[in-house]
Each structure stands twice: as structure tokens, then as C-alpha cells.
Subunit: 413 residues, 2 copies
Amino acid sequence: MIEPLNKGIGLLEQEATAEEIVGRGWNLLREDLSLPAAVLYRERIEHNVKWMQRFIDAYGVKLAPHGKTTMAPKLFDMQLKGGAWGITLATAHQVLVAHAHGVRRVLMANQLVGKQNMRMIAEILADPEFEFYCLVDSAANVDQLAEHFRDRGARLKVLLELGVTGGRCGVRDDEQLKQVVAALDRARGSVDLCGIELYEGVLKDEESIRTFLRRGCEGMKRLMAEGEFSRQPALISGAGSAWYDVVAEEFAAAGFSDAVEIVLRPGCYLTHDVGNYETQQQRILKSNPIAREMRSGLVPALHIWTYVQSIPEPDLAVVAMGRRDAAFDSGLPKPALHYRPGSSEPQATPAHWEVTKLMDQHGYMKISAADDVRIGDMIGFDISHPCLTFDKWRVLSVLDESYKVVDVVKTYF
Amino acid sequence: MIEPLNKGIGLLEQEATAEEIVGRGWNLLREDLSLPAAVLYRERIEHNVKWMQRFIDAYGVKLAPHGKTTMAPKLFDMQLKGGAWGITLATAHQVLVAHAHGVRRVLMANQLVGKQNMRMIAEILADPEFEFYCLVDSAANVDQLAEHFRDRGARLKVLLELGVTGGRCGVRDDEQLKQVVAALDRARGSVDLCGIELYEGVLKDEESIRTFLRRGCEGMKRLMAEGEFSRQPALISGAGSAWYDVVAEEFAAAGFSDAVEIVLRPGCYLTHDVGNYETQQQRILKSNPIAREMRSGLVPALHIWTYVQSIPEPDLAVVAMGRRDAAFDSGLPKPALHYRPGSSEPQATPAHWEVTKLMDQHGYMKISAADDVRIGDMIGFDISHPCLTFDKWRVLSVLDESYKVVDVVKTYF
């Protein structure tokens, strides 16, 4: 049910299902939505889902899209129906949300810490159809997990996280790895090691990423040879939204055969962006043979639409969109479409329009004095960093190519 | 009703009222909440409400706290019961939320633009007990408002916004002002001018702020003399969370008598912070005679609590708190309290602990190799910028001094 007091939708007298809302025939261009509004373009989302699944399939690996990006169970469902192996998540709360919405396989690419978080996971593990993995990178955490899950007579499946010096979590060297494996040996039956995980996104250049990935593959083979894994096939997982091509290449080239399942975890591909991920996509389209062959790439599928509310200086349009509405941590939103209510269709914005600053609820858009811009004009903005844009919206309208609302998606941040 | 799938609360089998949740006796230190969690300290919030109201009363002015900070109707209610004149908001959506929760006087310190937003406001103006003001700074916007509200047979009360070159919205000079006033003269009966508004927070030094405020007072007197205001007393409003002392001084010193109601709009005072607003508060406590006399100041009343999840290097503790959980746009969170589950009470963190980086779901906390920190330890973080912290949480637990949950507050972002 969609509640009436959400921003970015039309006026609802009471809560309504997405279907009821679609039945109202709301159209963005007819100003049926209260702006600012975050919207998803259905055709573009569907294209991105197919693009990534084709890419992943071509490498013979598995896709567990990072669901923390959208936290929208309807989009999880679309990804799973599109061929995804499971959903990746980051916190116990996120796992709870996914499980409650029918997701049946989750890789929590994070440590599980704290009594209440362990309890939440233990409760949903009582569902025999729910398959769940989380990460460990310390003996202390393994011991805590073992105690909690043993007391409940439950079993927890984990992946051992590898990390790099200066990076985030993950064991840095063989000595640390040995300690965690020793703790896992003690914990067997309560905490079962099923594979290895790493997140290459903390590194910034391809060479060090490839080195790290090869270390992961070697570690995988060693632990496999030592009989440390409780799962057949064992799992190896890597890949954020920027370097999934390199991870696919390295893992696929490691020659694991059927003894290993390779799981990649990009998340931002679903809506893509015009910032960091577009830069990475350009690199991939140039350098990756499979991406080149596909002759298309990911497309930006998320816009924030809002109004010009003030033009107090000839080269400044203040728009009703701020840090509460769009990510600003890796590039500001970029004007993409300009629509004057009553006109036939949105036009591409001139290249010189630029957001120069965001406050909590306002954006500063640089224009030229000669531009035809009026108060009440609608502007559609591309964004950088989908994750920190999605989490500012509790509902997003899904539009078709005529800007009609064809679905409404709820988020659970 | 509090829904089960919110982050930062304990395990709920189904939705529950705040009272039912309080009845469960949850305590942060007993790990009854899933961390990360945002918590408010009841005594500190109450102190801040009283402090600001006393300060405002001492100047004989009115308080309309900016509700965009918290978007928590329960906190609006606390502010109104504490003596506030009304609630300030920034968007039509926010006004809808406040009205639905019983707020009866709202200053929307922003332009009202767009068909659906105007429609939302027009619908709630049908409530005769609802008093509402918004801003205008252009003839174009006045004309649009006049058309919309005249068509509905409704009347809209507005304040004329003054601005400064290089600032945000608001008329820059007399020529612009004249055009807006002319449009308002045409619109009278549908759009009624009730006063003047400015936001001094776009300026950075006291001298230019005082100059701007005096310009506001002069404009006020001029428009009053010209009989432009439909409201007796007319309204003048200014003040964000940083310079409310200077605004109170200047407006109170303008000698308006009873012909003018002065309304100030700080918002962040409710929870305060340890960043920019604490810096400003130190200035106020030093320079403002009334604040000096009160012998206390605002206190930080909002913490993000989370766990240490990994200590992969001797001087790095990774904590389960990221950009999804705390503001990072004007200073990173600061470690404040350290609690080991099972121990007697939280201890102040050593001064050398520091958050050096936030990713989406993780924080990097610098420690020393010799520190007694363990995986599973709980850390309470102070924050900078309450606005961009609140909007990451749909529910916040309110704690008493023993860390017991004594209320649960919902937000509507």
C-alpha cells in the first residue's frame, strides 16, 4: 500500500495500491505529481536488467545485484525474474526487508554483528527455503556468531572476507586468515564456511584490482584444497558496480570448474547514472570484448524532476531540489530535460546549464540571461550515485515513454 | 503505527503503537535495538526546547521552528506545546504532513510552484482553522498563484522574500520588488501580502547579515507606510539555525511596535549538533547578553549508535554506520560514547578516535593499536547537521537517561 503522505506523488485521499494509482492515469507532464519527484523509466530499467544479465551470462557466472542501491523489493523481484541468482544486501535490516518480500537467497556482503541483528537473521533462518550468507573477517566475530547460533541450534553460512591494507573490512594477510580459519574450524556446525568474498571497489586502479582478485582466486584454491568449505560448489564473490567486468574476467579465467560458483554483485547498473558509473561504463564498452559485442550500454533510468521556482539573477535559476532529493557526494545532478507545462514534449537542456550548488531543499542552476526559462518550468535531472539518491525517496513513480505512471515502487531504507 | 520493517528498532512481529513499543521496555544498552540506530535523548531535547523558547521570549518575538529539520510531527507537537507560534516548512509535501498531524499554523519559507503543489495547499486551506503563509519573489509566480487560487475561489497569504546578490531566492533590488508588488496589487483578494521574509543564512559574516536585516526592516516600514499589507499586524520573518540571535537583535531593535509580528525560524536547535551549529552556539553564548544570562546552552541530543564490526588494521576500526545513516556534508560524525555490552555504562571515547571516512554503509574510525576496542563494542556518535541525519531515519527511538526507550518518533520525509 502506498501512503498519502509521501513526497513525489499525486494527491491521495487515503492509502492505495500501486494498481489503483496506475488506474488514475497520472502523467508527469500533466503535472499530476507533486514535484520534486524521483521517477524511473520502465523501458530503460528493463534494458539495463537485460544488459547486465546478458553480460553476466556470457561469463558463465552468477548475478546477485546489490539491493542496498534501491531497497525496492519490486525491483529485486524484477532482477530475480530477469535471471539473478540472489540479492546482495548490507545489513540485517535490509535482509529482513528482502525476506519479508519473498527473496529466497541473500548474500549479506557484510559482517553480522550485535545481538539484535543476529537474532533477526536467526529468526528468518527458521524458514527452510531461505538461503543466506554473510561475511566474517575476524576470529572474534566468528566466536560471537558461533555462540549465538549454537545457543539457538541454528547454522549460519559465511564467506571469508579478504581485504587490502588501507581498505575496508577483510583479512589483510595469511596470519589473519589463519586465525579466522582456526575460529571457523572450532565453530563448524554452527558457522559453516562456504567460500570467499572480496570487494575490489576500495582500490582505484585496474592493476592493483587484478592483483587483489588473483590473491582471492589463490586463497580460494588453497582453502578448497584444505577442505575448509562446507558447500559444494564453494562460492567466490566480488564486484561492485564499477569493476564487475574485470572481476568477471579474472574469476572466469581462474579455471575453477564446477567446484566453484562465481557470484558478482553490481547494484547501480539498474538505474545507472551520469557520473562515476557512466565513466566506468565507457571504459567497459571500450575495453571489454563482450560489452563491445553487445553494441549497447547501460542507460540512465532515474530522473529527479522539479520546478524552476525563482530566477532572481539573469544567470541563476533556483530549482526546488536539494540535498534531500538527490545524491551530491560524487557529482551534482545534471540538467537533462526541460519541459514547459502545456507544451508538446520535453526538450534536451542546453549544455551550458549546470547545477553549481545544492542546499537542503534548493538547487542553484546556472543559466544564461538569453535562455528561455520561466518560473514554473519543469526540469528533469540526471543523477550521480543512485544509492544515495534512492534513499531520499520512499516511493518512486515508474513512467513509460509518454511519461505516464505505469507503476509505483516503494523503498525500505 | 510503527511498521516492523524500519531500521534502527527492535524486532516487531507486526506494526505497533509507540506506547506498545515503550511497554516492551527496550533498552539500548541491552542491545534491544538493531544497530545502527538513531536515538534522541529526551531530557536533552526538552532542555533545548525550553532554552530556545526562553531566548525567543526574552526578545518578545515569535518562534516558528523549521520543521524540515526533523519532519517528525511528534516533535512539532512538542515545540508547539513549548510555546512555538507555528511551524516553518519548505515544501507543499511537508505542509501536507504537518496539517495531517494537527499543526494549525505554517510558514512555508519557500515559493509555492506547480499545479499539484498549489492544489495540495488549496485543499488544506479549505480547513478554516489552518493558517498558512508562503513566499513570493517574482511577478510570474504571483500571477500563477493568483490564477490558481482565484479559479478555486480561495485566498493565499504570502510574504515577499528579499534576497541578496549571490544568494538564493528573493528580490535583489527595488526594481524587482516594485514588479512583485505590482503583481500583488493585481492579485489582491486571491493572493494577499502579509509581510516580508528573508533568509540571512546565505551570508557568511555578521556585518553583511546585519546590513541585510536592516534592509529588511526598512522595506517592511516602507511597504507598511504604503498600505501594502493585508494582515494586521504584518509579519516579518528571518533566521535560520545559525544567526537567530543577530536576527532577534536587529528585528527587535527596529522599533516596529505592535504593528508587526516578528517570527524567527531556527530548526536545528532541537537536537543541536557538534559541528557548525555548535560553533555558532559558542559565538552566541559569548556575545549575546540574553544567552549569557541563561548560563546554559543547547546540548547535542541526537546520537547514531552502532557496532565495531571489524578491526582489520591496528589503528582502524570499521563501524557499521555510513552515508545512509549520518550527515556527512558539514563534518563527519564524531565518536562520543563507547559501550561494551554487559558492562555497567558507556564511557566517553578517547579524544584521538576519529571518523576519517564514510562509505554508503561503513565508517572508518581511527584508533590506536593500544586502545581497548573489540568487535561487537557499541559506539555512540555525535553528528554534524541534524537535517541531513534525520532524513535517513523513518523512526527514531527516544531514550531516557538510562538508555531506556521512552518513545518512538516517526519522520515523514
